[in-house]
């Protein structure tokens, strides 16, 4: 499936490393791009490409925050509430945001568009409150945010959807 879908990307990835196994992380990102999250069939395909046991691939998926093995909203809104952001009101920001959007942390909007997640430091502490939106293997920063600005963004995303 990946092999048909991304022949060029895969070739480039393999060219990068002297040892096949190193390709597992970029390949997992491809799988996430393809299906939004990582399913067993892609783990199996990757395992075959790299001559690994599928369990070895799964073990990598399970380790990293940005690989997801379960379906969620199209956009994962990942709000940092770590110490530096919290000192600048991130906890309150997240709380109000949840209230406005009408879901709790970890939940997904009924239209399946947005999942709100609470994450650790994103390296934007000077721009708190902030979040990033993860979509498959893509990431977009949204910094110096307010609840209103965020709701406008959400509205825009909803529009784009229709």
């Amino acid at each position: 499936m990946l092999a048909e879908k991304y022949p060029e990307e895969i070739k480039a990835i393999f060219a990068k490393y002297p040892v096949k196994r190193s390709a597992v992380m970029p390949l997992l990102y491809l799988a996430q791009r393809a299906q939004g999250y990582i399913q067993k069939d892609s783990m199996q395909e990757i395992a075959q490409m790299l001559e690994l046991d599928v369990t070895e691939v799964a073990a990598v998926v399970g380790f990293y925050n940005m690989y997801h093995d379960e379906k969620a909203g199209k956009y994962r809104m990942q709000v940092c509430t770590d110490l530096p952001c919290a000192l600048r009101g991130a906890d309150e920001f997240l709380a109000q945001l949840c209230e406005q959007i009408g879901i709790k942390v970890g939940e997904t909007t009924p239209d399946g568009l947005i999942t709100i997640e609470e994450v650790k430091c994103l390296g934007g502490c000077n721009h708190a409150p902030l979040f990033q939106i993860q979509e498959g293997d893509q990431v977009a920063f949204h910094e110096n945010m307010t609840v209103d600005k965020t709701m406008e963004l959400v509205a825009a995303l909803r529009k784009a959807q229709e």
Binding site: D53, T55, A58, A59
Partner: protein, 812 residues
Amino acid sequence: MTKIINLKINGKSVSVPEGTLVVNAAKMVGIDIPVFCYHPKMEPVGMCRQCLVEIGRPMIDRASGQPVLEENGQPKLLFGPKLETSCTTPVSEGMFVISDSEKAHAGQKEILEMLLTSHPLDCPICDKGGECPLQNLTMRFGPKESHFLFNEKHHNEKNVPLGDLIVLDRERCIQCARCIRFQDALAGQAVLGFYQRGRDTDIVTYSDPGFDSIFSGNTTDICPVGALTTTDFRFKARPWELNQAASICSQCAVGCNTTLNVRREASSGGGYVIKRAMPRQNEQVNEIWMCDKGRFAGYHYTQAQSRLHLADDALEAALSLAAAKLSAAGAETVFLAGGRLANEDFYNLKQLAAKLGAKAYLYTQHGGGGYTSAYGLSAGSNLGDLGPGDTVLVVASDLYNEAPLWHLRLKAAAERGATVLLANARATKLDEFATFVIRYAYGDEIETVRALLGKEKIGETIKNANRLVIFYGSDGLGLAGTTALAEACADLLKEHPAGQASASGLVGVWSTPNQQGALEMGFGPCPDLAAEITGKTVYILAADPAGDDPALAEALKTAKALIVQDILETETTKLANIVLPAAAYTEREGTYTNAERRVQRFYPAIPARPGTKPDFTLLAEIAQKCAIELEGRSALLVMNQIAAAQPAFSGISYAKLAEVTAQWPIIGRSDMYYGGTGYQNKQGLGLTLARTEKPAPVEIQYSALRAKEDEWFAVPITKLYDNGNTVAPVELLKGHIERFNGIVLNPATAFKFGLENGGQAEVSLNGVSYPAKVLLDESISTAVVLIPRSFGIPIREPAAVRVTASKKAQEA
């Protein structure tokens, strides 16, 4: 010559080879340092941090490079600020290790307390309770009470089946990764892994079928807690209720040393029942491991419902009748015995046949055994020693399926630097570890071996080998083929400079535990069995020819009289005029000779089933009725006769076989936390036979069958789990057996004949048609059909067959 390092541990002076880890140096002088993640058979990882000790090192003067001395002339010691993990630290000269100080004990106690914060402490209902390293070490090194709030414990799934055989309790797991590392590093099948991270780290398998490894049982031995248990034993008994009996696995020719755990229970009216089989250490044979077949099928069949038995008087009558038949037939009798009999049984059988002037054959499809007595391994051989400069050749054998422990040990040998040459007609699991893989077409076995010395690289590794060990199997071969193959392999050893070295030799990958013993006593297979037994008085022991082949069943029907001695009902016993019920190997004493020619004792684990007797006793009692004197009282006495009569066995006695010398690593005892729950060997490491004189070269007419355009060339292969009498009775293994039950084709040819994976086919062999499931394997040639033995299609030799999609399948 490795350098010797001198150090002190808890005041004791220790001298050990350079590179020894502190924890092992301590163990060697009887000092226990607690460990969880460390295992002496695996590389250290320093994960659990349980083995913390204080380590001081002599202070070296930069300028002079000399140790700095205290006033008292003792070298000044430097202690680091932190405790160190003794499992990851190699010894160094002048090191001063303290594992029992306040500080060290505090460290060990603190780690244990932290491990317990996430452990459920459900010992009362845990199968490991009583032999649990965590439990024992907590008693010994642990804190009296925990500061951790019980209701804040990390809760997690219990009773998670990883497969048919192994169950995981995620709460009990302490993340030592022993199981993961065993599968990855030792078994070479990374089917277990960690998932998640931190406190959420879990053991998972994504393999299909789950926990897809034939060595899975070993992970339950080395799991230091009750996280991994076998479906065979869990909830069946408590370790402290069990007695131990030393035994030898009867499932293949490796002869793994085992311990059978036994208790009396209501289920058998207060009688003794075997609850589980565990590995028993023998570093020359199975180290501390065993395969799942041995562990889970090893003993179950001996407790099967279908065990044969007779009331005392009925047995007596049967013996008299049998004796009468034999006396009447005399030299017209044909004895036929399977390799499951013990040495003592074969010896008595040999005597009886000789006195009657009758023929006695070994029942096997695997020929060429004579060469293995003449060119086999002898005293001092040990696969565990093979390394750089040594060469191992494996021909026509799928060791993973036919002799799992040799697969494990040859993989290790290759990793130690031995050259492993693998010559097979199809891919096997050992391929990825072999130095060279030689692929031939079924039928080309002999030519391939003959051509080896001609190949430059491969030829060199054989010619220059310090030690040369050759395994020959019966993959795709019958009696004639294997015999010719044995000769070709023997020729490689005959002229070889190292050929006579005791650690070099020819090994037959037999399917039974004691074919080698029979061979050593001069038994051999019969070239044309059907003809030989037709119209004769036939006495069959521990074999089921009728079940294997309708042609033999027909021949047996013509027998004047058919006497069958076995432990289970078989197709053959059904045809018998007289059935003699034998005691199982778990119920008597005896010895097996493994294919490495090591004679090993097994001991009675439970009393013989009422109405059964050991084979050698049944034979002796019949002999007596024929006025022939044979030793039937005890196996020990028979062995004394064998030692006197059989040159290869000279000097062997039960006492000698029971001797043990120190083995490394030290396992069992109370040190379960260190090596696992496998058993220490107290009952004997066995002895390897001396070589016998070379056999007179026999003329072998063998020409491989070739597939013609329009037909299929069917060959027999062996699968680990089959429907043989010793495996089929095991409920646990049904799923595994089913997976192997089918004929194997190359996808291309299957497609050509409209057959698909898992589909139904009709195989017609010698005019008889058999149904079979279709399994696919890209690695095999398009001209062959692989037919696994003991799955109902009676293939004993390569044969031409026709395969068609079954009617049912086509209609569907």
